[in-house]
Symmetry: C2
Subunit: 429 residues, 2 copies
Amino acid sequence: MKSYKNMSKEELLALKLELEKAYEDAKGKGLNLNMARGKPSAAQLNTVTPLLSALQEDADAVTESGIDCRNYGEMTGIPEAKKLMGDMIGVPAENVIVCGNASLSIMYDTISRSMTFGVNGSTPWAKLDSVKFLCPVPGYDRHFAITELFGIEMINIPMTESGPDMELVKKYVENDEAVKGIWCVPKYSNPQGITYSDDTVRAFASLKPAAKDFRIFWDNAYAVHDLYEEHQDTLLEILSECEKNGNPNMVYEFCSTSKVSYAGAGIAAVASSKENLEWMKKTMTIQTIGYDKMNQLRHVRYYKDIHGIQEQMKKHAALLRPKFEAVLEILDRELTGLEIGTWVKPNGGYFISFDAMEGCAKEIVKKCKEAGVILTGAGATYPYGKDPKDSNIRIAPSFPTPEEMAEATNIFVLCVKLASVEKLLATKA
Amino acid sequence: MKSYKNMSKEELLALKLELEKAYEDAKGKGLNLNMARGKPSAAQLNTVTPLLSALQEDADAVTESGIDCRNYGEMTGIPEAKKLMGDMIGVPAENVIVCGNASLSIMYDTISRSMTFGVNGSTPWAKLDSVKFLCPVPGYDRHFAITELFGIEMINIPMTESGPDMELVKKYVENDEAVKGIWCVPKYSNPQGITYSDDTVRAFASLKPAAKDFRIFWDNAYAVHDLYEEHQDTLLEILSECEKNGNPNMVYEFCSTSKVSYAGAGIAAVASSKENLEWMKKTMTIQTIGYDKMNQLRHVRYYKDIHGIQEQMKKHAALLRPKFEAVLEILDRELTGLEIGTWVKPNGGYFISFDAMEGCAKEIVKKCKEAGVILTGAGATYPYGKDPKDSNIRIAPSFPTPEEMAEATNIFVLCVKLASVEKLLATKA
């Protein structure tokens, strides 16, 4: 196919007429499709059913070591759940605290604690003149929302195919004491599906932060979320890498079963050095008597061990693959060679990231909406909702059916084409 | 029985010898009993078993209005759970947000939010020179722990038989702008089992706080926790009283099913004015995508409505009464007339509060411990763990069996007698 960029004004005008007609036809269909939400489909949730009846009798509520999960206590979680969550991310159970139903809440609490009480005895961040976080972009809007809420200044770090630009990370972390953290989704990143290379992880582990209370917020949300058995990304385990490099306290790692069991009713955990966990526990013991151990035990009884989780993930993958492929097939077929957008084919995770021509993302999202296809708002993948190039769009294929995804993607590529033609014509005007 | 206070030195010395012999005998038994923990017994938890299987099939996970509780969303809780929790405390569902497994965490979050972000637009408390909370005493140690953690100055307010000393409350709240809150357990208070009178509630509702961001932290933990069907305390509903008095935003009310269903795996809620809830939601929406709706639905399906909860509470009461009565019978029989202690017979709740002679509480707890009976630490019922009279001891009868409670209480009264005799002799020395 001919690149739009090589087209003459006349060619573009002719193409525009054609696309506009197709777009009007599409709008006439009165569609109502949603590619915005990174949530599992009902079909996926239906593969988890036995979890519901994993605990039935009073005796079921007691752990191997005799903890009655119906009662108070065991603030850091039951041993079996620590093992299960630890195995999911490759860290020992003793480095894990299992909490409630959402890793996002643990991250929020971790930021809130650092603001009010400091980090392992450091000055509370709220008392400093300036606190900065590095934000690999595009990234996860809910991370950025937390740091924005607490008034933390966010600095964009471009992503590469192997993770964040580590030269830039190193420059900031090692020279600016106000840089206290970095948000990372190291495996099947949100939204690009990129897994950090071993070199990237090692570069993180060997950082020499200017601030003693600098921490890597390692949101390993998609640790076991492969789409293909034959192409599985692997991520170097960062806690042990940091320890090897004399930085044992530099990482907080977060994970959950939100996209393993139930998005609203899974279990979540934080993993870190013992010293970091001790610091967390100091405030946690005031904040709660304990998290929901029944749900922890329910998960342990159903999955048994990491193999149970892996089997579960194969079922999710079988349902997700056709949806990802429906999107990718249409992007490939319709947009290859046009030079109006790029995208990455991920091996796992929940998203496909699309980069439109500069200055086109908002217009594409708007056009899609008018034709009945809802996308994540343009800019959402950047701090403050500001994509400096107005280029990135996050596509979430998980919730609709493959047929709906195909229909929605056809509208999407149409809108990409039309917005790009309009943009190119405007520059030629 | 003869008052110890009227005994001569010789009588006391003779009594001391006798008590010391009994105490040595008791120590020889090698007991290991615990009256410290306000947690339900296994027998109580065993009355909740059908809750476990309330959700079995995929279709069970969907609410009346079509919410799939397995998935993300509905941050403020499912409508059915709002109704159930609202009915438990007598407020409309629209004033309720249902959260996770612990009201303590909601209280912590509420304090933390006020410190960092202020209250409905007020200056964040952390930015003020002085923030004070009123603490009716004796009270709940975990309340005091939260305010202490955040550096909030706590002021003791004596309890009366009808609630906190409202003259004093009024004086502080209406004259000191630094007074931002008061901790209340208004029904079957922890530890005294006192229920605030209608006059007390009305006095609260008609306060004219000096600080616009003053809030009553109304921890209605024992709203349905009656011990006797024939003697049930009633508590005036404070949200509507405050509204009547032009103070619609003055109260945060907290409740949970921790002592209705499972102590570790119940559901908890906050009730307040719509304006207050809107303010909470502003940060809550950053903190979480939603709480565990499956557990909310599990509770709704099992209890169905407030009548289901009331039936449940009768079962708990039947198991708790003999334990409370075992303690009270022995206190009555062994200590009446001796003038070495006072106690209140509660109609509900989880505790019996005992006031020893001044300066004796620590010694009694120590002596009990040496004889194998664990009590809540003396002072725990006061801010900073400091009981100015060293007098109050909290007895928690719920966890042991009635026989164990009787055995433990026999040791307890022995230690009360011995410590009191020693104290009286010391003053005569």
